[in-house]
Symmetry: C2
Subunit: 246 residues, 2 copies
């Protein structure tokens, strides 16, 4: 889907990855740690799947408050904690401060999809690979060490003081990498993220993650041909992109 004015897929030098849902499976990671927490602290039994969904659902409205200026710049750790405190209160759960702080950092310990690490190692052979996430730098660095994600560097909305899908994030990433937007490919499981990247001139790769929202979850709709590449996982993405390299 490249136009004549763009270098086309063969000009891509760097891949920027959305993280939550694209590289790591936030829902099952939170369910897993929630169950361990429940057992350790003797909490009343919870539906940790809906707990995870509530936590994630609070995320866009919280970022929106930052984007509109209703909240001053607050990093994702801070936003996650605000949302967590509300969910705990709503469910009548009381955690000691140390337990709440440690549970809030589950987002630093999210586990990768089974193909993520293998695919990233293959992609790194041909391309600069970076995160491009609304997660803060410390969260992304800790996650990479925990999950074994071999980033060339960590790029975050925090560096631009703007959250995706603001254009400052996509354009800022290309600038920091010393590249034109068309030399950068955004990889994401979310069509809305890819559309915002494409509007800034980035190339796009769609990797659907049908399990992101659990067994009964649904995917955002998208049009055939809307993205430059569509791949079922990162290993397949590496295979597809390798055929474009010299």
């Amino acid at each position: 889907m490249t136009s004549a004015a763009r270098p086309g897929l063969a000009g891509v030098q760097a891949l920027c990855f959305d993280i939550f849902g694209t590289v790591v499976d936030w829902r099952s990671s939170i369910v897993r740690e929630g169950q361990l927490l429940q057992q350790r602290l003797g909490l009343p039994a919870q539906d940790w799947g809906s707990f995870a969904d509530d936590w994630r659902a609070g995320y866009q409205p919280a970022m929106h408050e930052v984007r509109t200026g209703a909240l001053p710049w607050t990093d994702i750790d801070g936003l996650h904690r605000r949302i967590l405190d509300r969910i705990l209160a709503r469910r009548g759960l009381v955690l000691a401060e140390a337990d709440a702080a440690a549970f809030n950092r589950v987002w630093h310990r999210l586990r990768p999809w089974p193909d993520s690490v293998a695919g990233l190692y293959r992609l790194k052979q041909c391309f600069t690979i970076t995160s491009l996430s609304n997660g803060n730098v410390a969260l992304l660095v800790n996650m990479a060490r925990h999950a074994g994600l071999p980033w060339d560097t960590v790029l975050s909305a925090e560096l631009f003081q703007h959250y995706k899908p603001d254009p400052e994030v996509y354009l800022g990433a290309a600038k920091l990498l010393g590249l034109q937007p068309a030399q950068v490919m955004m990889v994401a499981a979310h069509p809305s993220d890819l559309r915002a990247a494409a509007a800034c001139g980035l190339q796009t790769a769609y990797v659907p993650r049908p399990l992101e929202r659990g067994p009964g979850g649904s995917l955002e709709t998208w049009q055939e041909g809307e993205f430059d590449v569509v791949a079922p996982d990162f290993v397949a993405l590496a295979r597809q992109l390798a055929t474009l390299q010299i």
Copy 2:
């Protein structure tokens, strides 16, 4: 040399590395590429050691111009190119634009000291490891891919729009890593860099590089006991710091 108010060396969670001279050997890398360039283009024979020294010598004054506001923010690629053009003119060397641009990027291809890669892999097992360099992000990412430097992330003066030794760089790095300054150790071959880091509350590791300025070069002076750790190379540094970890 830790005071009672600091967590001490056992509290260190991240190591930030100076790059030029500390991790990579800029002088011999430039001599090597200069000789290859001379041969390829049939240039008059040059003393590439003094060429490299001149290039590096222009660096502090150029950053000073940015620091004082005489120049607007200019990244290191831009500063290196300004200096290179002056050296070429002074030596009566004329390069095609593409050759000058490619040679300017020798700073993206600097070669590591022999112990750097092995030492970084060992240090990464226990600590978050990052660059903390006046080099721009693109330069540092390209260098890491070229030299095989396994950073957890790339941190650069560019992210703070201040050059070392301005405190914004050291304090900004700790903040992005989500750490207190005393939980971060600056590793450098230059006492001046370490003193500025220590003034911001960072821990310090001095790794002298006696060959940085060539066979006849001299080291900056320093006092015994001035730095928290002194090690002859990165492998020895890893061994020393490992004894402090639980």
